[in-house]
């Protein structure tokens, strides 16, 4: 906390904000007003804010349906609900203080059990921190459509309900199970979506064309003319380029799916894609929101608007959030994205405002620059992987006492490959950056080929990264895939020397009943 020796900076005519632990709607409004004012002072660009007050039970509901206010029905959400409910009712676990939805207006949930301090904290953290990140960061701008997400979810829920009425709950549930199994491979990682507006128009046009084309093909089918080139055609692979987005491939190409099934696959795919940026920007996004709640509330305190009691409660929970237990602690469960993100953003500000020689050597382009501009640039143009690669400073590595360990299954011992010293900084930074690289974190499995002329079997290829094998559940995932595809599915592994080996094969047509676990 920055301390102000005397409260001389108190603004004339401003009464301090309400204190105490009970909140009222008026108090929340006043907090919001002040926080919004300070956020504007720091030039945070946000969507309009919509604050919704909910009960703990509703919070658990929202939890269970992956944080969205509406979602289709599925047993797995029920499972999550039961797990959360049990933890909460037993007092084993508190609920998250906040859920914030990347929509326009940005919806922030406040839980009615929270104290006034917590409400203030959540408003600063979610409604201004996360909100500005959602609006500014390139991944969110490219991949998510904040104006349309709520509408889309309502559409999805209604559509799936309709399918259930028509085709039976069981049928839809099995389909969703299969889609969920492939969800993490149902995103475009590298491809960018086409530009909208004009693109939409083109798409429509294309649809019309395709319709005509299909009519034409039907006509041609009766003619034996293109037999001549069949031999040459058989050499071609389909798809011509490997496809990384399994759900997309299924949606467009699975031969036996009915139109409504394709639409359901599409819905799951769209939702997976919507959450994709969040998975790639955890450290940045949480660090950003934490930095801003810390900065905004301290600013208000310096203005004399916040009571000491507020600050004590706030700092207590802030400290909990940014705690990083060391590797050998009971509480250790990986690097805490809040802690790392917060430390990095704070350090960037320090480098801008008060650089030392080391910083000038490492970050000549930002040392001594205007911190707000640097922040804005960093927030807009990076994701965790590149953010760490670009901005992780030796000071943060020293403060966290980071070290890297190589675990090679061919070696009976672990080896420390780098620590927080001059020789290790760059290596550490590269390794940590790689740790946030989804491409390395998730297996590289792509659609390789479909045997168009033969049994229509689908072949996937897994290219292992540093010899990492696939987990045991792969068999089951393949059965799900085979159910969607309708024919034999194979998984091949490309070994380090370039040879290809057949890993799994799920034969023939899988009847829906046989997939039940």
């Amino acid at each position: 906390m920055k301390t102000t020796p005397t409260r001389t900076r108190r603004r004339a005519g401003k009464a301090p904000l309400p204190a105490g632990s009970e909140w009222t709607a008026e108090a929340i409004e006043r907090y919001h007003e002040e926080i919004a004012r300070v956020a504007a002072h720091y030039r945070l660009d946000t969507y309009p804010v919509q604050i919704e007050i909910i009960t703990a039970e509703q919070m658990m509901d929202a939890y269970a349906s992956v944080g969205m206010p509406v979602n289709y029905h599925h047993w797995s959400f029920g499972k999550h609900f039961l797990a959360t409910e049990k933890g909460y009712k037993r007092g084993q676990m508190g609920l998250a203080y906040e859920i914030v939805i990347n929509s326009n207006p940005c919806i922030a949930y406040l839980m009615d059990e929270n104290t006034l301090t917590m409400q203030g904290l959540v408003i600063a953290h979610a409604a201004y921190g996360h909100n500005s990140f959602f609006k500014g960061n390139y991944l969110f701008r490219t991949w998510t459509n904040a104006d349309a997400i709520i509408d889309y979810l309502i559409f999805a829920r209604n559509y799936i309900t309709e399918c259930e009425e028509r085709h039976g709950e069981e049928e839809v549930e099995l389909l969703l199970d299969s889609c969920h199994a492939l969800m993490n491979l149902g995103v475009d990682r590298y491809k960018r979506p086409p530009k909208l507006s004009l693109a939409k128009e083109k798409l429509r046009q294309q649809e019309r064309e395709e319709y005509l084309q299909s009519q034409v093909n039907d006509l041609w089918r009766t003619l034996p003319a293109h037999d001549v080139r069949a031999g040459a055609r058989a050499e071609h692979r389909f798809p011509p380029e490997p496809e990384e987005n399994l759900l997309y491939f299924i949606e467009k190409n699975a031969p036996l799916l009915e139109p409504w099934q394709r639409e359901v696959v599409r819905i799951v795919r769209k939702i997976a894609q919507y959450f994709f940026p969040q998975r790639q920007t955890q450290v940045m996004n949480e660090g950003w929101a934490t930095f801003w709640h810390y900065t905004l509330l301290n600013h208000l305190y310096d203005e004399g608007l916040l009571a000491d009691s507020f600050m004590l409660e706030f700092l207590q929970s802030h400290t909990n959030v940014v705690a990083q237990p060391p590797y050998n602690s009971r509480w250790f469960s990986g690097i805490n994205p809040y802690a790392l993100g917060f430390a990095m953003w704070r350090d960037i500000r320090r480098i801008c405002e008060d650089p030392d020689d080391e910083d000038r050597r490492w970050f000549p382009e930002i040392a001594g620059s205007d911190w707000l501009e640097t922040f804005d640039f960093a927030m807009r143009n990076f994701k965790d992987e590149s953010f760490v690669a670009q901005y992780l400073s030796p000071k943060v590595m020293r403060d966290f006492r980071l070290f890297a360990v190589v675990d090679d299954d061919h070696d009976d011992k672990l080896e420390v490959s780098a620590i927080h010293d001059d020789a290790g900084f760059r290596k550490l930074r590269a390794i940590l950056s790689d740790q946030y690289n989804l491409g390395a974190r998730e297996p590289n499995v792509q659609v390789w080929n479909v045997d168009l002329r033969g049994d229509r079997s689908l072949t996937l290829r897994h290219t292992p990264f540093r010899r990492r094998p696939l987990a045991d559940s792969t068999d089951e995932v393949l059965r799900h895939l085979a159910r969607l595809w309708g024919f034999t599915v194979r998984l091949e592994t490309v070994r380090e020397d370039g040879t290809v080996e057949l890993q799994n094969e799920i034969r023939g047509e899988i009847r829906p009943s046989s997939i039940h676990a």
């Binding site: 029920g78 609900f81 037993r90 050998n328 360990v405 080896e415 490959s417 390794i431 974190r441 998730e442």
Partner: protein, 422 residues
Amino acid sequence: MVRIIDRRFDSKNKSAVNRQRFMRRFKQQIRKAVSEAIHGRSIRDLDNGEEISIPARDLSEPSLHHGKGGVWEQVFPGNDQFSAGDRIKRPLGGGGQGSGKGQASNEGEHEDDFVFQLSREEFLDLFFEDLELPRLIRTQLAKVTDYKTQRAGFKSDGTPANINVIRSMRGALGRRLALGSPYSARIRELQQALEEALARWGEDSEEVRALQDELGMLRAKIERIPFIDSFDLRYNNRIKVPRPTTQAVMFCVMDVSGSMDEERKAMAKRFFMLLHLFLTRSYEHIEVVFIRHHTVAKEVDEDEFFHSRESGGTVVSSALALMRDILHERYANGQWNVYGAQASDGDNWDNDSPICGKLLGNEILPWCQYFAYVEITAGEPQNLWREYAKLEAAHDNFAMQRIESPADIYPVFRELFKKTIA
């Protein structure tokens, strides 16, 4: 202008549908868990939900991800001893792999059971399903009467809102005293020694300083005892109780001779449970008397009733005589509705059966609202059955049934239900 929307009064239970789907999907596993739960339950305790646990692997959601093996290079915080190039022994459980799982965590991949709470309705539904009760009866039984909530002491888990601060702090104080007491005793000794040492050698001597150091260390140890621990927390306990207006006593009579094995006892238990549940619909205060017998009868508590095992011959009349005595002694003042339920494998000492018939017919049935007898056997009817069959014709408050599976239990109650519903 910010929009603040109060959604607290919107519909709750948005996840209710998802929850039902979950239950439907895992019905097999849940039903199995319910059967096990019945085994461990008191027959009086059918009106609560149940904590059900299902092996987590049965309901995992598969996905494609990396497994163990290959090369992983990961960054950890809090380096306290390593420098580059150090080689470390691999921790147990092959840690250091996968995302998030700590290198230092000494448990490998380990799956907990998935535990959750079934509501009372859900539990009863599954309970009834086995018994093949008709729908109408199910709703009759599942009907809830008005309860009032009252405080009932404290418990060690609950929601944070129910924490009882005084109790928790008292517990914490006790724990701190208890954990600190060895140090405190030593401190007292040292203090005394210190005073003596001060008097004898003065302040600057070695001995005094040594004593002071040790004192300081002990005080620090006491300081380090956590002020409050999750172990200390106590929560207000609130329970629902119906106000008794009518009362009933239920006699459970069971044969525990060697021929009644665990399976038969489990069946008998369901029979008793159903009767008890049924009675809770009609009466708000119910006492249960457990009588078990082989050649002699004995009144026991529930645990002993179901779980202890004896062998030897069978004299059913001993139990009926005991029931008669208890009945006349405690429940004959006209304020009690008396129900009897007897379970046996039908094997009785030959000369005893006529005595049973007489006892039951003349001295018990006239006082009873209802008496039900189940014979749990797959074989031929035994002599007791033949004797009882004579009674059935003469008394309309007597029912008997031979059962082989839980589904056979219900007909015993059919007459009784008819009466209540009418």
